[in-house]
Symmetry: C2
Subunit: 121 residues, 2 copies
């Protein structure tokens, strides 16, 4: 914990933001966490195709950038929960808008979104 960031200095706010939420999975993970606190396994199942290595790596980066918090419960079996920080939560409206845009484009191109299932408990 606690690196804050070692990315190249941002040239502008847009650059700064995309350095933190760019990449293949971060947008989707933040969006999923916008729904509420989630466990590692829940995130893994919601982000289709991600490997445990990548998931852990991306979660640590988001944590280092103070967009999410990680809470460990020392139980058996282990439980680890991830949730948005206030800073992270502040991004959700933007991602919401981007998602709405994406949905419109997908429909316009005749693409049907793959159903996302989550569940059990």
């Amino acid at each position: 914990m606690g690196k804050i960031n070692q990315a190249p200095p941002a040239t502008c706010p847009v650059d700064y933001a995309f350095q933190r939420i760019g990449g293949k999975y971060k947008g989707r993970i933040l969006w999923f966490l916008g729904d509420g606190v989630k466990r590692y396994g829940q995130i893994r199942r919601s982000i289709s195709g991600i490997t445990p290595k990548m998931l852990t790596q991306v979660l640590r980066e988001l944590e280092d950038d103070r967009l999410i918090t990680r809470t460990v419960y020392y139980e058996v079996p282990p439980r680890v929960e991830y949730t948005l920080t206030e800073t992270g939560r502040a991004l959700i409206p933007s991602i919401q808008m981007i998602s709405t845009w994406g949905q419109a484009q997908m429909q316009h191109q005749g693409i049907t979104a793959m159903p996302l299932e989550e569940g059990e408990e």
Copy 2:
């Protein structure tokens, strides 16, 4: 020209969107074009550090994805203008919000990167 897209099928709207506006420069370029029609050289000078190869490549991808249009004026010297499509323009509010978020975070971290007037204490 006119490939639309050959990216892997999007798993959700957020994924779809980030496949199109992700990468190191696309956000900044779209944001700059939100200001109005721009020439190649103007974009190049506004996106610090980008090489002509990368700029052309990224502009072609944005064009293929119908986010911008490219207009060539056969004059001497040559003039090429880029402008947002309606689809591309629909992204600007999202980028505006992301930029505002980024600006807040940069200030919160004491970063002063842009030649941009600001109030502080």
